[in-house]
């Protein structure tokens, strides 16, 4: 492709002409500089290709470059894939043997990881685990059989390149008809862009706690709380947090103070359009390709029906809103009946910003943008986690009677309260408390097997699958929770777990150290071992006060959310603060695999392990 000295063009002439003809659009200018696949008309279910160029499998060539492109209306230097950032939509078909040639035109090593794909270990694209990486000037050819379908994505697994836009959607068309029908589909790829150098972002996180947090509690918040809940409760609450040397507003490490939240590469002001014809049923393939940001996604005025999670079909769940952790994907169906515009609103978890697009019958329309919610304060679950993590002996007195009471007044939803007993259980100290008054517990006990393990598919005590998490008021609207996810049929391996493997998610907020079981990647000796073909229960216990999206490469994690045999399977599990989450794994993928927190800077800080199946 010819490179223009001013702005390198995302489309070849051929692409532009083809697109222009197909849509009757006059010029590339009308398209802006969005990735070619982010076409307003999406893809009609009747057609076999996107109206615009996407990279259709089985054979795809990709070139990775660093070039100047505007992002959110400003000059930027993202990493591009075939001239766009985010990269092109790669479309494969179940049953194909994919051949993906990746040429590195950067000045440093790069890689592409096919997130969520089950493939041979050498094709997984993690430098140092699956291969050596792709050196500058080299081409690496990924070859793997495609034996699944759904919505996935791909991204660099080298250093912090993902933060520079080295990501893109990966869609696998099903070989057999899917369980739901739709007339049109759109891919909605969420990313977080910063004009800072990612290495500077990391340095800021490492050297100054709370660098990006401009929503800390202030004296004004204190007085507001005093008015609402009285002096002594407020003081007690603040005292607890202060004593732990933590901030209850520590919701996101990197925030809208540096991030522009993008939807299909477009800022809220640019307002990317997803078009529909009234009466159509539209499938939205939502991918969170952010480095660090969780989003709450909703389309005011439209009910969304969740039909797939992490690419895998689930029984339909009608919701008004869903939370999408970093690296997760959800497929939802919407049926806009009216000839009007709808805002697709993706609010960041800490409410410091949002990504936005408009679902509309014609281009250039827009609807009201909802007001952002206020940042929430972390509740007891975060505190308990803090106590478990750094400060073992933290006064449990603070959590008994008085503490709980003050919590109630602190403006947290009832849902956080519920979480309280559970989160404490991960520590063990307060287990007795829950045993004492919980019917649920005795039921769970009854389901316990002789070997002391829960029956496959049962939710762990300490899990909070019934809650979406912090900052969500479940009474306001219907929000997707993990418990809603239910497969259509049991997965092939119906064996119960042979053993349990517990891993704690740990961290030191002040130093920005993140780890599993208190050890950073640089501190552990050797990989985590899975016995080949064993059936294993992985239990993740979050000792920190932040959410962590935990991603296992190479194998599915069947999330034991209490749906018995119909448990959903995922590639990325969101573990809330203080929560205990479990998944069944069939260790059938021989080789070495990455296992890590998908918050980019957490991974970089050491929250990474290698799993070896042998």
């Amino acid at each position: 492709m010819a490179r223009s000295p001013v702005v390198s063009r995302p489309f070849s002439r051929r692409q532009v002409l083809k697109g222009g003809v197909a849509l009757g659009l006059g010029s590339a200018a009308a398209l802006g500089l969005s990735p070619a696949w982010a076409n307003p008309w999406g893809r009609s279910a009747r057609s076999t290709t996107y109206s615009y160029e996407s990279e259709e499998g089985p054979s795809v060539s990709l070139s990775i470059r660093r070039e100047s492109l505007p992002v959110a209306g400003q000059e930027a230097r993202p990493i591009t894939i075939n001239g766009t950032s985010p990269g092109p939509l790669i479309r494969l078909k179940e049953g194909q043997d994919a051949v993906l040639r990746v040429t590195n035109l950067l000045e440093e090593s790069t890689s592409i990881h096919w997130h969520g794909m089950i493939l041979p270990p050498g094709m997984d694209g993690v430098p140092g685990v699956s291969f050596a990486g792709i050196a500058p000037g080299e081409t690496f050819t990924y070859r793997f059989p495609v034996r699944q379908n759904g919505t996935y994505w791909y991204h660099s697994h080298s250093g912090l390149q993902e933060q520079l836009g080295h990501v893109g959607p990966l869609i696998i068309d099903a070989a057999e008809p899917e369980r739901f029908r739709y007339d049109r589909e759109h891919v909605l790829l969420l990313t977080d862009w910063t004009f800072e150098n990612p290495a500077s972002v990391f340095r800021n996180l490492k050297t100054m706690e709370g660098f990006y947090n401009f929503q800390e509690r202030t004296v004004a918040d204190f007085f507001a709380d005093v008015r609402r809940q009285g002096f002594s409760d407020t003081v007690e609450m603040r005292q607890m947090w202060s004593k732990m040397r933590m901030s209850s507003r520590d919701i996101a490490d990197v925030t809208g103070s540096t991030y522009s939240y993008l939807l299909n590469g477009h800022s809220p002001e640019e307002n990317w359009n997803a078009l529909f014809k009234a009466g159509e049923r539209v499938r939205l393939r939502v991918i969170n390709g952010s480095a660090m940001s969780y989003f709450d996604v909703r389309i005011p005025g439209l009910k969304m029906t969740v039909v797939a999670a992490d690419g895998q079909p689930v029984q339909p769940v009608p919701v008004d809103e869903f939370r999408i952790g970093v690296a997760e994907t959800y497929d939802v169906l919407v049926s806009p009946e009216d000839d009007q515009a709808y805002t697709i609103f993706a609010e960041s978890l800490d409410r410091s910003g949002y990504a936005r697009a408009t679902l509309a019958p014609r281009e250039g329309m827009q609807a009201d943008i909802p007001k952002r919610r206020r940042i929430a304060d972390r509740g007891m679950e975060g505190m308990a986690a803090g106590a478990m993590g750094g400060m073992q002996g933290m006064d449990h007195s603070a959590m008994s009677g008085g503490g709980m009471e003050s919590m109630d007044h602190a403006g947290m939803s009832g849902d956080d309260m519920e979480s309280m007993d559970h989160s404490n259980m991960s520590g063990g100290d307060m287990e007795s408390m829950d045993h004492g008054n919980s019917d649920g517990m005795s039921k769970e006990k009854a389901k316990t097997r002789e070997n002391g393990m829960l029956v496959a598919g049962e939710a762990q005590p300490g899990s909070r699958y019934g809650q979406a998490g912090i900052g969500i008021d479940p009474d306001e609207r219907r929000v997707l929770v993990y418990r809603d996810l239910k497969a259509f049929a049991p997965w092939p391996d119906r064996r119960g777990p042979w053993r349990e493997l517990e891993l704690h998610l740990t961290g030191n907020m002040e130093r920005y150290m993140w780890s599993f079981d208190g050890k950073k990647f640089s501190e552990v000796n050797g990989p985590i071992h899975f016995e080949k073909d064993e059936r294993l229960r992985l239990i993740l216990i979050n000792d920190t006060m932040m959410e962590h999206p935990i991603h296992l490469h190479g194998m599915w994690m069947e999330l034991e959310n209490g749906q018995g045999e119909l448990i959903p399977r995922k590639h990325t599990l969101n573990v809330k603060p203080g929560e205990r989450v479990s998944a069944l794994i069939t260790a059938d993928a021989e080789g070495s695999w990455a296992f890590h927190c998908h918050l980019l800077y957490h991974m970089e800080a050491g929250m990474f392990r290698v799993v070896q199946v042998s």
Partner: protein, 254 residues
């Protein structure tokens, strides 16, 4: 010369500590990079760089600097406090210039040890001494930034200091920062105006505005009082033992 020796010693200790890393999480083939590479970080900051105007006496430029370089656990620190009294015809003085090896020993605490120098910055206008120092820096419960240290000078004089400060957030950018410094000594060091026992207590209150995270201009006031033998020495030289003043300056982080 002595300082050079100390420097070499401390640096060597730091290098050994850095090398003493556990094995990688995975035995990859030769030639493959590590999937996660940790890099050392570093930062330098003037917690206070201010012009101080005492109620009585001469104005002064005052600095309180610290910088570090290293990993999560092992770091090297350079710390310095000092002042240049305006119009006294003398060079600026390091109250302290320290090179420290620091090791994280608990979530919020670093144990630090190294060498220090007190004296003129460019000249021998001021009395000089070198000392060994061991200290604990970190955050106390209730988020009080703390630095306690014990110093033993080349003359065998033993002294200790405590510094504590707290940031009170008025808005996202406006803060009030109370701080206090307490100095005690085990024995007299007359040439430095230090007596045995409690030497001095300093308290200050600064109001700053974070224009950016790295630049926060502030104004403030302080109160300082000397006690016991130290006060006696000061009185003997005809100076006041208690003073107040106002300051204006900036917190700079690089």
């Amino acid at each position: 010369m002595k300082i050079k020796l100390y420097l070499v010693g401390v640096s060597a200790a730091f290098i050994f500590a850095s090398l003493a890393k556990a094995d990688d999480g995975y035995d990859a083939p030769d030639g493959w990079p590590s999937p996660i590479v940790e890099h050392n970080q570093g930062t330098a900051q003037f917690d206070r760089l201010e012009y101080s105007i005492p109620e009585n006496g001469k104005d002064a430029m005052v600095w309180d600097f610290q910088g570090w370089y290293g990993g999560d656990v092992n770091r090297m620190y350079v710390k310095s406090e000092g002042e240049n009294i305006q119009g006294d015809g003398e060079d600026a003085e390091f109250e302290s210039l320290e090179l420290l090896y620091s090791r994280l020993i608990a979530d919020f605490w670093e144990l630090q040890g190294g060498v220090g120098y007190q004296g003129g910055v460019f000249s021998d206008d001021h009395e000089e001494r070198t000392y060994g120092v061991i200290g604990l820096q970190g955050v106390m419960p209730y988020e009080i930034e703390t630095d306690v240290a014990l110093q033993v000078s080349d003359e065998g004089d033993v002294s200790a200091s405590f510094e504590g400060e707290y940031d009170f957030r008025l808005t996202q950018r406006l803060y009030v920062q109370p701080r206090t410094e307490i100095a005690v000594a085990a024995n007299e060091a007359e040439e430095f105006g230090v007596g045995a026992g409690l030497n001095s207590v300093r308290a200050g209150l600064r109001v700053g505005y974070e224009v950016t995270r790295r630049f926060a201009p502030y104004v403030g006031a302080y109160w300082e009082k000397e006690y016991g033998e130290t006060a006696d020495l000061t009185r003997a030289s005809g100076d006041r033992t208690e003073s107040t003043g106002v300051v204006a300056g900036a917190r700079l982080i690089f």
